[in-house]
């Protein structure tokens, strides 16, 4: 709750409008069904994971603050604000973004992407167009490439390392939250 979100008032207004639009029953909270009502999200192969990311474990609803907090991950990183080591990691830094993405893979929250979890993601992304062997082959290859400590799973550090060439800031930012 104490994280500086670097979200401007204009953003908050926009997001609140959206929050209200999604909250059809005007309860002040969002439930999974509200997210599910977004048509395009239903078509998204990892839509359910994304929805799940909004809800903290055990919680059934999302209030506006959490809503904004999750979405604040996708702000472009501020290069102007100097990194203050005493402050906690800003929520839209590269590491936080990667952590968010990592948690989407790691459903059981054990800090590693196991082979089974990777297979699940691949299966949902490839939408049944490939055979099981192909999926397993790809999963094997993926883990082999990334797995540096040879524990047959991808830890966060390995995940981060495998994406070091990708411009995460660019890839995981939504323009309107500038």
């Amino acid at each position: 709750m104490n994280w500086p979100l670097y979200v401007t008032p204009a953003h908050i207004v926009r997001l609140y409008d959206r929050f209200e639009a999604l909250d059809k029953e005007k309860t002040g909270h969002l439930r999974p069904q509200d997210f599910g009502a977004i048509n395009r999200l239903a078509m998204n192969p990892i839509g359910d994971r994304i929805i799940g990311a909004f809800f903290s474990p055990g919680q059934e609803t999302v209030d506006f603050h959490s809503f904004v907090r999750i979405l604040a991950h996708f702000r472009p990183a501020d290069k102007k604000h100097p990194k203050d080591p005493s402050m906690p990691e800003p929520v839209n830094s590269r590491t936080s973004k990667l952590k968010f993405a990592f948690q989407l893979y790691d459903q059981d929250k054990d800090g590693k992407i196991s082979r089974a979890e990777l297979l699940q993601v691949l299966r949902s992304m490839l939408e049944m167009q490939v055979t099981e062997e192909q999926l397993e082959s790809i999963a094997d290859r993926t883990i082999q490439e990334a797995d540096l400590d040879k524990d047959d799973a991808i830890s966060f550090e390995e995940f981060r390392k495998s994406l070091e060439k990708v411009n995460i800031d660019h890839k995981m930012s939504i323009r309107f939250l500038r």
Partner: protein, 821 residues
């Protein structure tokens, strides 16, 4: 001259350097003399024969000979000419070939001299060569041929380069930065044109420069000609400095897209230079014209691209002419656009970019390689020729040197470029997520090279309308020389000095691919949640539309269903296999290894036990593909050895007619097994369907009665391998490949187990298709089982020969890009 050169050469490689330089000089002399000969003979002919053409002359001869026969008995009969020289008959193609040869030999020569090519960019050297050749021709007293004729340039020399650029354009970075690129291309070029043109006019009006007859409009026209960044020059220089992708695509994209602006401005000012003034209506018309030119060009290109993609859908039976469609459709797109005075360059880019994903999915692997190599070859030759011709044209053209004009031009160009880039970046950075730093801006500004397009446009000017044409040309040439020589030579050290981020050489890993796709989906989802129709939303929509409708129409067979990720994965595996084979010449087995060491025993030495548990491989289509690809590439190495085998000694493969295929495959299998041990990463071994060559081989080797059918056939005792088959309980055979003969010390016995062949029909069909393909003619298509059989049936050996000359894909980043962003 050669002596002087020898004195300067470094002691280390003295003789080689000497030789290289000697070769160069001799070549220049040779070409120069032949060309002067050519130039000498043509005026003779044209002088003699006013009706023109050697053809007529020959007719004349014949006519005369005929009349000889008829009317004269008094002429002595000439001796029958046993050997005669008729140069003008072949003159034009001969000279063209000579120029091309000169260009190619120059390219060869430069790379023989190692130091030179690292200091001086190739383009500079080529211009110098052109200057030399032009000088030689002039020395010989002949008139230098107008080689950089605008028609030749725009219709023959430029299209290959642009097509090469457009076909291999990295779409994703291009589209991501399209806003920036367009800003630089359109606004930047406009700014440059007006700034340079306007200030030049102001300078011309100053008393004492004797330039007051230069009007405003010609000045603006000159400004528009000189302000366009040239794609040829940019490509030539940037290719060698390897800066990071972002900067490369910015400058390069700008150079491509500013063609529309240049075309419009050029025509606008040219039209109205006669009239002497431009009214506001004209300006509005100009804007509309710009939109039409650019969008029309793109539309024309896209139409031809779709046509090409559609045509390629049906080429599965005539693979040989597949590359032709790519080239012809693209060229026609260019010509059609030029016909309407639309932007030919943009048409070509659009055509290449649109057709590529679909064509690549349809054409065979070899056709793809053909297309790639032809494009690279043509564009390379074109580029070389352009620079040489620039040199020649410099020597040739009438020059009107005016110190003020020329120097002001050069200075103004530089200044306006810098101001333009800085100003535009300031505005652009407000909209960009990844901002452009000062270093980036410097490179973008400094990399704005001018080239032959400017010269050709200047050359096109009408002499009567523009009396100062020669002065313009001189200024243009000076500017080109300045940018190419000064900026081209210094940009590399500057890049190093400023520590600009270089291009990342490593290829995309499958992790990156998967995660970026994942992130794409994630961002699309988040955008949907926010209700924001952003970048990802539209990209996703385009992808869906593409998948649903377009791919079905334009991609042959079942391949349209293949997801991008799978295609990428296969490509990657293939590349890795090729690399492995090409790099690993020998088997790196520890020599102390006893024979019959099983794969499972080897593994724990290299990998932790946890992984060794996975030593029992699983078979996937991907692995199978990979193995086949390794095998295919091995053909290149084993072919020489196999030539000596007598075809009668081969066992017939009942499923194919190629007798020597069998032995080839045996060899491949051996090589494969050797490579497998090197591949410590990979534990999976492919499954082979029962009627694959693997199984055939196995069955045959195990003593099937097929052997007996072919009378007189004898199996060559293969000391290195034999195959056994064990049928497992669920009907899936296992193959035990035993590389050991008892005497060979380094051998590996691998136990491969086939997993359940629970393949879907599609998978099975794909595998079959792939199998057949590999044997038939090494095509990489994964589907349409059996289709390829028919066409390759007749010419097995030529097919093999053709495929063997395929050097295989090189490590290029474009290959790694997914087809659609």
């Amino acid at each position: 001259m050669s002596v002087r050169v020898a004195l300067h050469s470094p002691t280390g490689s003295r003789s080689f350097l000497e030789r290289g330089l000697l070769l160069l000089v001799m070549l220049i002399f040779l070409e120069g003399t032949v060309l002067t000969l050519g130039a000498a003979s043509s005026p003779d002919i044209s002088a003699q024969d006013n009706t023109g053409g050697g053809h007529d002359r020959r007719d004349d001869h014949r006519g005369i000979a005929g009349s000889h026969e008829h009317t004269n008995y008094t002429y002595t009969k000439k001796a029958f000419p046993v050997l005669s020289l008729d140069y003008h008959h072949i003159q034009v193609p001969f000279e063209i070939s000579l120029w091309v040869l000169l260009a190619s030999l120059m390219k060869l020569g430069f790379h023989l001299i190692p130091r030179l090519s690292s200091i001086v960019p190739e383009s500079c050297l080529l211009i110098v060569v052109g200057l030399l050749v032009g000088g030689l021709i002039k020395l010989a007293g002949e008139e230098v041929p107008p080689v950089l004729d605008s028609n030749l340039f725009f219709l023959c020399l430029l299209p290959p380069i642009i097509l090469d650029a457009g076909y291999f354009l990295p779409i994703r970075p291009f589209m991501e930065n399209i806003g920036t690129i367009l800003m630089f291309a359109v606004v930047g070029t406009l700014w440059n044109a007006f700034f340079v043109g306007g200030l030049l006019y102001a300078v011309c009006q100053i008393e004492g420069t004797y330039l007051s007859q230069v009007e405003l409009l010609p000045c603006l026209l000159f400004g528009s000609i000189i302000s366009a960044v040239d794609p040829v020059a940019v490509l030539a220089v940037f290719e060698e400095i390897h800066i990071n992708e972002l900067l490369h695509i910015l400058v390069f994209g700008e150079s491509l897209l500013n063609d529309a602006v240049t075309v419009v401005l050029y025509h606008l000012f040219e039209e109205y230079s006669g009239a002497g003034e431009v009214t506001p209506t004209d300006v509005i018309l100009g804007v509309i014209c710009f939109l039409i030119v650019s969008l029309g060009g793109i539309a024309v290109g896209a139409i031809y691209g779709i046509l090409a993609a559609f045509t390629s859908r049906f080429t599965s039976h005539t693979r040989v002419i597949e590359p032709l469609f790519v080239f012809v459709y693209s060229y026609m797109a260019y010509l059609s656009a030029e016909m309407f005075h639309l932007s030919g360059i943009m048409a070509l880019i659009a055509c290449g970019a649109v057709m590529r994903p679909y064509v690549e999915a349809n054409i065979s692997h070899k056709s793809h390689t053909t297309v790639k190599y032809f494009l690279k070859m043509w564009s390379s030759v074109s580029e070389t020729l352009i620079f040489i011709f620039l040199g020649v044209a410099t020597v040739a053209g009438p020059h009107a040197w005016n110190w003020t004009f020329v120097s002001v031009t050069v200075i103004l160009c530089l200044v306006s470029r810098v101001i333009g880039v800085v100003g535009l970046t300031f505005i652009i950075n407000k909209f960009r997520i990844v901002k452009l730093t000062t270093k980036d801006q410097f490179i973008v500004a400094y990399g704005g090279l001018r080239g032959a397009i400017a010269f050709s446009l200047g050359y096109l000017l009408d002499k009567d309308l523009f009396p100062m044409r020669t002065m313009f040309l001189t200024a243009i040439i000076t500017e080109i020389f300045f940018t190419v020589f000064v900026q081209g030579m210094t940009i590399k050290p500057l890049v190093d000095l400023l520590a600009v981020k270089k291009k990342q050489e490593a290829k995309r890993s499958i992790n990156e691919e998967i995660h970026t796709q994942f992130l794409d989906h994630l961002l699309t989802g988040i955008e949907d949640i926010c209700g924001h129709y952003g970048h990802h939303h539209w990209k996703d929509k385009l992808n869906r539309f593409n998948k649903k409708y377009i791919k079905k129409c334009l991609i042959a067979g079942e391949r349209y269903k293949e997801p991008q990720l799978i295609a990428f994965y296969h490509k990657m595996e293939f590349k890795q296999a090729i690399e492995l084979v090409e790099s690993g010449g020998g088997v790196k087995l520890p020599s102390a290894m006893p024979s019959q060491v099983s794969m499972q025993n080897i593994q724990p030495k290299k990998l932790p036990p946890a992984v060794a548990e996975r030593a029992l491989p699983q078979f996937t289509k991907g692995r199978e593909e990979e193995i086949r690809k390794i095998l295919r590439s091995n053909l290149q190495k084993t072919r020489q050895r196999l030539r000596s085998y007598n075809r009668h000694t081969l066992v017939a493969d009942p499923f194919e007619d190629g007798w020597n295929d069998f032995l080839l495959k045996k060899q491949r299998m051996i090589e494969l097994e050797k490579k497998m041990t090197e591949m410590s990463n990979y534990l999976t071994v492919p499954a082979a369907p029962p009627d694959s060559p693997t199984m055939c081989r196995a069955r045959l080797a195990s003593g099937d009665d097929f052997k007996a059918e072919k009378a007189g056939a004898k199996v060559i005792p293969d000391p290195n391998a034999f195959y056994n088959i064990k049928a497992s309980s669920d009907g899936v055979p296992t193959i035990q490949v035993d590389l050991a003969s008892p005497q060979s010390p380094d051998s590996v016995n691998m136990l491969n187990e086939f997993s359940k062949r629970g393949a879907t029909d599609q998978g099975l069909g794909q595998r079959e298709g792939a199998t057949r393909d590999e044997d038939q003619g090494l095509m990489m298509k994964l589907s349409s089982a059996g289709k390829e059989e028919k066409e390759e049936g007749g010419n097995k050996n030529p097919g093999l020969m053709r495929c063997l000359s395929d050097p295989g894909p090189s490590n290029e980043d474009e290959e790694d890009e997914p087809f659609l962003p």
